[in-house]
Symmetry: C2
């Protein structure tokens, strides 16, 4: 699946991923009203509205981008109907040829990590039948529990040729509280990065590993160091745009082959029509506003090479 991701990136000439992280406040009122008219003020209405909103955006942008990253929390908060919308979104994106990175940040130990891996990038067996609960191509994984917690995910990656991105240095202001703590002079995120490189070494696609890393755009100096520590690791870079990272900060995350990183934008794309810059599109054309925002982001990022 890392090969497919790279192929998609080359084809679209866009090392970007669009975060499908819907909030009800982002959804145009006509979509929300129709859902509530049909189903009342229910979780089902929220799920239906999210799915309609997502579908509009996906239809408008799928030919421009290699991948999407739905944030499962935004669906999980609406319970079963929300997760049903998550599944519909994932399946629809895959039908459109997009690589789907489930931003689920799961992490546990042993058989529990294996259950999460089977849930999202693997399968379970009922009797003689293999079945999948969720259907992402990649997922994000939290490493706090150590190798026991991460290995079961990697086993499933090998078997299914799917992938993971492990949190190394997150984009938020307080990420340093634990991640930057110095161990014999070396920050913890570097130690985690070394583990990621090691874990990924025996799980290689053609040129990059199935085991990637998350490193926030908001810390470019650290990104530069981590790029060197993990040369064969694809880096998923959140924090561009709304969170404060700019294009000029992104260069250190890429290798000299122009590959090795994929930059996420969520709100900046999916809620473009609410920004001054794209306000002229209006609510009815929210998906066209998202398309224009993707085109502008591609241009912005192309400028760094």
């Amino acid at each position: 699946m890392i090969n497919k991701l790279i192929e998609n990136i080359k084809k679209t000439e866009a090392p970007i991923v669009v975060g499908l992280d819907p909030m009800l406040g982002y959804i145009p009122s006509y979509i929300m009203e129709k859902a509530v008219n049909d189903r009342g003020e229910t979780l089902e209405a929220a799920g239906e509205a999210i799915w309609e909103y997502n579908k509009g955006i996906i239809d408008a942008i799928y030919d421009l981008i290699p991948a999407v990253k739905p944030q499962i929390a935004m669906y999980e908060q609406f319970g079963i109907p929300g997760l049903t919308a998550f599944n519909k979104t994932v399946d629809y994106c895959r039908e459109k040829g997009l690589v789907v990175i489930g931003d689920i940040k799961r992490g546990d130990i042993g058989s529990t990590s294996a259950a999460y891996a089977n849930a999202h990038i693997g399968s379970v067996q009922v009797g003689k039948t293999k079945l999948s609960g969720f259907h992402e191509d990649f997922i994000t994984v939290n490493p706090y529990l150590g190798s026991d917690g991460v290995k079961p995910f990697i086993d499933v990656c090998k078997e299914e040729k799917r992938g993971i991105f492990i949190l190394v240095k997150t984009s938020n202001p307080s990420s340093g509280e634990f991640q930057d703590q110095k161990v014999d002079g070396k920050p913890l995120y570097e130690i985690v990065g070394e583990h990621v490189a090691k874990w990924g070494a025996d799980c290689m696609g053609d040129s990059y590993s199935y085991v990637g890393a998350v490193v926030g755009a908001t810390y470019p100096e650290m990104g530069k160091v981590l790029r060197k520590i993990m040369p064969k690791t694809y880096i998923l870079v959140p924090g561009y745009g709304a969170q404060g990272g700019s294009a000029k900060d992104l260069k250190p995350y890429f290798n000299e082959d122009g590959l090795g990183a994929i930059v996420n934008s969520s709100r900046g794309i999916i809620c473009a029509y609410k920004q001054e810059q794209y306000a002229e599109f209006g609510e009815k054309n929210y998906a066209d506003a998202s398309r224009q925002a993707v085109i502008d982001m591609k241009e912005d990022i192309a400028g760094i090479f």
Copy 2:
């Protein structure tokens, strides 16, 4: 909800929590076969079998214990039908008066952490209607992303009078890989523990905080230190029984008031009928075997005081 947990512990005289972590291999064949006959080899059959199996155990043990801890990964692997079984289990346990600790180990940043908190211990709003997707009393939280990631959970705890247990030192063999790394001579888990104590200080029940911690039974020396660092923090202790922790290791986790810790057992209780010790009960009486295993665990743990 921490007051309710303590009240339940005092009433049952049992500082224990039963992990409802069903694997299909644990489920008696007559339950599994009925589900597959009714629904085929589907995720729905798995969900139905899990729910029937759980209900038998809950009916057999609810009067003996204060709380249960369903591990969501074991349900999530069966997709939407699995999570439907999770919801039914949580709701049924609450009807029976049990405190429900959702072992979900979520953690993200800002609005995403808020979404997870709203999903599991809070609510969302659709129009003018407040709704809940999942309905636990407590959940477990991963702290790797720092305060930004944890604070949104604490905000919901305050509002809803529900609680969280933050991972400090987990029970698995490789938990030390990152958690034990020494920062100026002090292991990271102690630094996390200090944060937990600080975060919990402004979120107090009558005698303990709504913000608890997870510390594995497999590391009693560390448990002793953490008990002192977090005097008002309830400690959820996994790793007893199947993972190798024994009753004599548990004393340091408790305060002098005999409170302050709650010990989890999962497999040891829910899959008791497959152990030699309880084999005489047989598959048909799996729930009675679980009841006997609870009685034995209570006695074992009472012996430490």
